[in-house]
Amino acid sequence: MTNEELKEQILALEPSVTFDETGEWLNVQVEPAQWKELARGLRNSAMHFDYLFCLTCIDWKTHMTMVYHLSSTSHRHNIVVKAKVDRNQPEIETVCDIWRTAEFHEREVFELFGVVFLNHPDLRRLILTDDFEGFPLRKDFEDPINMIKL
């Protein structure tokens, strides 16, 4: 499907989204509150985005952005969905009941960025030790011992 068709269908699912077409793929900006609904729609509608191949977060110092890269194994089209979350109290609905790969990726983002995924079945640390403090991939993270500044 072309970007125009995708836009049309996504707007039909969720009218409040905004688009950005400067990158390689269509970027969809969505509010965290609407994300879960949109995700379900993207997975189950005719667009059939069944393959979540990348899930990550970016710390912009003022806010954080959750980034979801979606692909369809039948139509071979890709989109990027972004949801802005508050940096002080980052919260977003989990999508691991829609794409099960999200379970591990969300756990990773949870401990490296501190984003809390609501209704995640098993949200606990996967990589770091229990006594680890701070969120290492945030921009303001400082570790005087292990981080060597060149």
């Binding site: 990158g23 793929w25 191949f53 099960r100």
Partner: protein, 378 residues
């Protein structure tokens, strides 16, 4: 939300009635490194597997934020060390995409040749290690004999055996060694002669077949949902070869088949990998005599400064789809890099695949997932 300490403490006492909780790893012969699995058993039957990661987490994503665009490719050799070339290529391609660098044809062909050699080397090691997981020690050495030839080719041309750092933004670091073509042809011949050995020792062996057939089944829907890629997904019938779907470099110009199987069990994953080696040989044979003349590296500025924006590159490593997500703010260092590693997603399906099977089956399942722990932890 409960913390990790509680889980590990829990394993010293047995679980609920009739359950046995064992820690497999971080030091265990079959976890190939430092994977830690907390396995709940009922007798020999697996009820639940919880992976615990992070024993080799170096936070390469964070490290990369303070490295320049020339420096950050070499770190990725340490991620999936068995497909170091392909990781480096993904990074180089991301920078090239961002800066719109045109890579010379010769460099592209060399890159593809190196990639396919890496893929064969990785699968050779996997065949040996997987047979070893199932208790056959000898194929490991036979596989390493052929792999040794590839590492020697790499050593000649790239200067290192495992962490080559050969792909640089704009092309490759050096031109190929004068003996490269001769040695690759010798390797192709040797591989074709010796591939029957794996068939005799492993593929057709009745014990091996009974250990892998019907073990660790993964359906097509689950493979997609768990984000599996590479041979793991292709054995379940998911067409996901990035080389075919989104061809990069000269993959669009060479003939090869995407190996697909529909059985979805460990034996199918085994077969897919073995057939993939043959396809790689096919690609190498097409390209080895047709390396075009020309530059091996495009002219680039000393300091690379990609424009502001977001770039995503997908390549097919030996394990599956590697994604490099680059967020650039226009500086000399990346603002954020995310590596979407194939092993991480493949591992997430392990619990689903191994539930209800025996401990022995777990070895077959884990072996055919082809986990490389630094790739999972990054």
């Amino acid at each position: 939300m409960y913390t990790q300490t509680e889980v590990i403490k829990d394993t010293t006492a047995s679980g609920s009635e009739g359950e046995l909780v064992i820690n497999m790893g971080p030091q265990h012969p079959a976890t190939h490194g430092v994977l830690h699995l907390v396995i709940t058993l009922n007798g020999e039957t697996i009820k639940k597997i919880e992976p615990h990661l992070g024993y080799i987490h170096r936070s390469i994503e964070k490290m990369t934020e303070s490295l320049t665009y020339r420096q950050f490719t070499y770190v990725t050799s340490r991620m999936d060390y068995l497909s170091a070339h392909i990781n480096n290529l993904a990074c180089a391609m991301t920078v090239e995409k961002a800066m719109q660098i045109e890579v010379p044809e010769r460099a592209q062909v060399i890159r593809v040749l190196m990639n396919e050699l890496t893929r064969i080397a990785s699968h050779e090691l996997w065949i040996g290690a997987m047979a070893m997981d199932l208790g056959a020690f000898t194929p490991f050495f036979y596989a390493f004999r052929e792999r040794e030839m590839i590492t020697e080719i790499m050593e000649d041309s790239c200067g290192a055996r495992l962490t080559m750092n050969y792909m640089v933004p704009g092309g490759v670091m050096y031109d190929i060694h004068p003996d490269f073509q001769k040695k690759v042809k010798a390797f192709v011949q040797q591989f074709k002669d010796k591939v029957t050995e794996y068939e005799d020792l492993v593929t057709n062996n009745v014990i091996f077949q009974s250990r892998t057939k019907g073990v660790g089944y993964l359906s097509k829907e689950d493979a997609i949902s768990y984000g599996c890629s590479g041979p793991v997904a292709r054995a379940s019938g998911v067409s996901c070869d990035i080389r075919k779907i989104y061809p990069y470099e000269v993959y669009g110009k060479v003939e090869f088949d995407e190996v697909l199987d529909t059985a979805g069990d460990s034996f199918a994953r085994y077969l897919v990998r073995v057939k993939e080696m043959n396809q790689s040989i096919r690609i190498i044979e097409q390209l080895i005599d047709n390396i075009p003349e020309g530059d091996f590296q495009a002219k680039t500025k000393a300091v690379l400064k990609p424009p502001k924006g977001e770039f995503y590159t997908r390549v097919e490593t030996a394990r599956g789809e590697l994604g490099v997500y680059l967020v650039s703010e226009g500086g000399t260092t990346p603002y954020r890099i995310k590596y979407r590693s194939p092993g991480f997603s493949n591992l997430s399906a392990l619990d689903h695949m191994a539930r209800g099977s025996k401990i022995g089956d777990l070895m077959a399942t884990m072996g055919t997932l082809d986990l490389v722990i630094p790739d999972i932890d990054r």
